[in-house]
């Protein structure tokens, strides 16, 4: 019970060594009136067979619907090798590499990860990861305030087209430190942030501009113009990017004339299962000149006393265990296991495999959009290019339509009416390479029936 290996003889010998009569005596420094009487609210134990049965029943209750939801978390094929290796005990049950000599596997893997992420984003340097894409965005804003020494305002411009949950996480995380997040409007016909709308900030002290590419609607922003506008005014640019898309889209390091200053994103598409929202990992990259302002663990290559190459945590003078109240962040570890999975995933995919994944996902989304917009009462919300995700407009409220579809085992996308009421009855849909033409046709046929039935009602 409780994975405790002690025999009665062990316990007796150990108590004798300590010099007490019973285990209870070891708690004699805890005031008696504080002691727990019982834990009635915790159920009795289950053995492995019983918990296995319970969990299998619970998993089945959630079912295996055909899902067309994206909105920041994407269903991609995960090669079998990714989790077969990631769950090896040597990765799974190790801790953060404080003893470098006994953690070279984890350290070298993180160094390889940092290299791959820097190359994917076109940036100079990456850290060992953050909690998720939203928290990485929040930390990027805090970092920008430290890095942009010309700005005193701590004002961060955030497009309305940024994932709405990211904006909320940024406010929760950074508002207590005085950061002010100001929303940039978007064009409701095109679903992008027009650079002309920025003119009203000319001459004002702004610390950073956040740009998400593709944006929450799947639309492509004019990242070059936005980046150059910001840099001409000494405003730092924080890119929020989808790593799969970077196999095809211009990396943040090449945006505009000078490239973005900080690039972050959700790492989940790189080999991490959806799993109701986590664990995922956020990635964070920047220019070398800002590396000391970056939060989180960083691994460097160095030499050992015999002159051989080896890996160690470095730049720890930024971190909480050294700097305490003056640290760049309170973040302690990272999302190591997910970084392990992502590094294996990127190695197996390579640039060509990742580009095929991105292209195949995009092709499926186009096929989905083409199919669904043939259904009467459904049309594409925005003109202009999108990437592997798009907003549809329906001629009736989205929620009941989604409910009818879910009764047929189809999760038809994300209802945007709560997030973007100005768009009316809008639905964000996504297909990835995991979907077939038959899947897409099943959704189209289901939507057609549901819309028809609703019209008839």
């Amino acid at each position: 019970m409780a994975f405790i290996p002690h025999t009665e003889a062990d316990v007796a010998a150990m108590l004798a060594t300590i010099g007490v009569a019973g285990i209870e005596d070891l708690f004699d420094e805890i005031p008696a009136d504080l002691r727990v009487k019982s834990l009635a609210g915790v159920p009795p134990e289950l053995n492995e067979m019983q918990i296995g049965r319970l969990m299998t029943e619970r998993a089945r209750a959630d079912g295996a619907p055909l899902a067309f939801i994206g909105a920041g978390a994407y269903e991609h094929h995960i090669p079998a090798a990714v989790w077969a290796i990631s769950t090896r005990g040597e990765f799974y049950s190790a801790y953060t590499p404080y003893q470098a000599e006994a953690s070279q596997g984890t350290l070298q893997l993180i160094y390889e990860f940092q290299t791959m992420i820097a190359r994917l984003t076109g940036m100079e340097v990456a850290n060992a990861s953050m909690y998720d894409g939203a928290s990485a965005t929040a930390e990027a804003a805090l970092m920008a305030v430290r890095a942009n020494r010309k700005s005193k305002s701590a004002r961060i411009l955030v497009p309305t087209t940024l994932h709405p949950h990211y904006r909320r996480v940024a406010v929760t995380t950074a508002a207590n430190q005085g950061l002010k997040f100001e929303e940039l409007p978007y064009c409701t016909a095109e679903g992008v942030t027009p650079s002309a709308s920025l003119a009203r900030y000319d001459g004002q002290d702004i610390t950073a501009l956040v740009i998400q590419q593709p944006n929450f609607f799947g639309r492509l922003e004019d990242v070059d113009a936005l980046t150059d506008w910001a840099h001409a005014r000494a405003i730092l640019v924080i890119a929020v990017v989808n790593p799969t898309s970077l196999a095809l889209l211009k990396p943040p390091g090449e945006w505009g004339t000078r490239g973005a200053d900080i690039a972050v994103g959700e790492g989940q598409p790189l080999g991490v299962p959806l799993c109701s929202g986590g664990p995922y990992f956020g990635f964070m990259t920047t220019r070398m000149e800002y590396v000391r302002q970056m939060p989180g663990r960083i691994v460097g290559r160095t030499l050992d006393t015999a002159g051989r190459a080896g890996f160690a945590l470095t730049l720890q003078a930024r971190e909480q265990h050294i700097r305490r109240a003056k640290a760049t962040s309170n973040i302690c570890t990272n999302q190591g296991l997910l970084v392990t999975a992502a590094t294996i995933y990127m190695s197996l995919m390579g640039a060509r495999g990742l580009a095929r994944t991105a292209a195949a996902a995009h092709a499926r989304t186009r096929e989905l959009v083409a199919g669904l917009t043939r259904v009467p009462g459904v049309h594409l919300a925005f003109s202009g290019p999108y990437f592997h995700e798009a907003v549809l407009q329906l001629d009736r409220p989205v929620a009941p339509v989604l409910k009818s579809l879910s009764n047929r085992g189809i999760l038809g996308g994300l209802d945007l009416s709560g997030y973007f009421p100005e768009l009316g009855d809008a639905l964000l849909v996504c297909a990835t390479e995991t979907k077939t033409s038959a899947d897409i046709d099943r959704y189209r046929a289901g939507l057609s029936e549901v819309m028809q039935a609703a019209r008839a009602a």
């Binding site: 289950l46 299998t56 049950s93 970077l246 299962p273 050992d304 590094t343 197996l348 095929r356």
Partner: protein, 492 residues
């Protein structure tokens, strides 16, 4: 000695690839509408390797690690207990893995039931009134906790309270968290026996006190005996008490933070509830609160209406400090903790604190008998304890770090070294309840053997480790000549 492993990039050959894993190429027409100005000009330089090469490379890397599955890992304050295999297997059932975070509640009753029951069990073992599961690490839970304290004072119009009191031995995350929440940190000393200096605390509290952050048992490995007094002083001054759950394993099933007077806590599920440390995350830092702070819990929470489970969001918790993650925190970690807690059950939960404490006190007694010095010899060990090697450092010129590195050669992960900072030449040792007496005895033998080496052949110890893939690494060089990403031209 393990053989060093090349970098994955050094296996790369143009044109090679694990193409069985790739989808079919949809052809250039699929991308026709993407403007060239927004397209990537050159592909990213990711490795081009076959599947077997990748599998071998990463398997070999794994073999360069110490881990719980392979080695005793008595890293103080980290609770490196066994991670049961069932927890991983049943959290990774296909339906759980495939579920989208924004899927409707109708397709999530199974996972929501687990999360709801996890909230309830955590309330019971901590003695708190409400629990939120979304913080993604201990430090993230700390953030949520201090943010709630701030929100509470603000909601009462008590705007001056921005000081967080922290004992000098606290984890570095405590002061760093206070800063992240826009608070000012005030450190107070502990006395000779490791308890908080009550006079200093009394002098520190006042109208600007937002709260105090405490770990109990403390980072010194001893139970704060006057916790009732501490609570009274802080509460009378109008502040709240924050419990850092780093050391909850010591008292699980024995005493509850809620009963000690704490208003808010975080629980490191990756410590006490045995979810894997994963080479440094993912963790989970669930937060628990008393009635006063319940309105401020971070969202989403899991609620239950009749027999249906549902997410609680802004509409249900309008005073919430808000969202901490894009979705629902580290759900997969939460499922592992849930499975572990159900397997332990209420009696197993009580045995955890008992046997963790038994193992620590046994190991301390044996090390003392072998001639090592406890930092707090008058005190009972909790689930961990501090050995100070200050005498050995003086007499033999061999440091705690030297002992730590030499332990690696003996097949033991080193204990936490040089934390807490106020004890010189210290090792913070936490065996956990899942280790057998045999392992603890072997550790004592290794420590004794190393001391003998230090007396007879000190260079053997001061130049350790000798059997790892690398010798001691040059940290100064790592920080001065930054090499953070591999470049083909760089020396490899």
């Amino acid at each position: 000695m393990p053989v060093p492993e090349k970098l994955i990039f050094e296996y790369s050959h143009a044109g090679r690839g694990a193409s069985d894993q790739w989808p079919h190429d949809p052809g250039p027409a699929a991308l026709a509408e993407l403007p060239l100005t927004l397209r990537r000009a050159r592909p990213p330089e990711l490795p081009e390797v076959g599947e077997l090469e990748a599998v071998r490379h990463f398997t070999r890397l794994s073999q360069l690690n110490f881990s719980i599955d392979t080695h005793f890992y008595p890293l103080g304050s980290c609770t490196m207990k066994y991670n049961p295999k069932a927890c991983n297997q049943y959290a990774m059932l296909p339906e759980f893995l495939a579920r989208h975070p924004l899927a409707p509640e109708s397709h999530g009753q199974g996972v929501l039931a687990c999360l709801y029951e996890l909230q309830e069990m955590l309330k019971e073992v901590t003695g708190m009134q409400g629990v939120a599961l979304s913080p993604m690490a201990g430090a993230h839970g700390e953030f949520a906790g201090v943010a709630m304290i701030r929100a509470y004072h603000r909601a009462r119009g008590d705007l001056e309270r921005n000081e967080i009191i922290v004992p000098e031995a606290a984890h570095g995350t405590n002061p760093a968290t206070a800063t992240m929440c826009g608070c000012v940190v005030r450190e107070i000393p502990v006395d000779r026996l490791g308890d908080v200096d009550l006079a200093a605390l009394q002098a520190a509290v006042g109208p600007s006190t937002a709260g105090i952050m405490l770990t109990n048992p403390s980072t010194l490995g001893v139970f704060e005996r006057r916790i009732g007094e501490v609570a009274r002083i802080v509460h009378q001054a109008g502040g709240l008490l924050y419990y850092d759950g780093a050391n909850l394993n010591a008292i699980l099933g024995k005493v509850r933070p809620g009963d000690m007077g704490f208003d808010v806590i975080h629980v490191n599920l990756h410590k006490t509830f045995s979810t894997p440390h994963g080479g440094g995350g993912p963790g989970a830092g669930a937060v628990g609160v008393g009635a006063r702070l319940a309105p401020f819990l971070p969202i989403p929470l899991v609620g239950k209406d009749g027999e249906r489970y549902r997410w609680l969001t802004e509409a249900d918790v309008p005073q919430s400090i808000g969202r901490l993650s894009a979705f629902m925190g580290n759900t997969g970690v939460l499922l592992r903790a849930y499975i572990y807690m159900r397997m332990l059950g209420r009696e197993g939960m009580q045995r955890v604190g008992e046997y963790a404490t038994l193992n620590a006190n046994y190991l301390l007694a044996r090390l003392q008998a072998a001639g090592f010095d406890a930092a707090y010899p008058q005190r009972r060990a909790s689930h961990e304890f501090i050995v100070t090697l200050k005498r050995q450092a003086r007499e033999l010129n061999v440091t705690a770090m030297d002992f730590a590195k030499r332990l690696l050669d003996y097949g033991f992960h080193a204990p936490t070294t040089y934390f807490p900072l106020l004890v010189p030449e210290c090792l913070l040792i936490e065996p956990t309840e899942t280790e057998s007496k045999d392992v603890l005895d072997a550790f004592v033998s290794a420590m004794s053997q190393i001391r003998k080496e230090a007396e007879q052949e000190p260079a053997r110890v001061t130049s350790a480790p000798h059997t790892m893939p690398v010798r001691r690494l040059d940290d100064v060089r790592a920080a001065r000549q930054l090499d953070l990403t591999w470049k083909p031209t760089a020396q490899s």
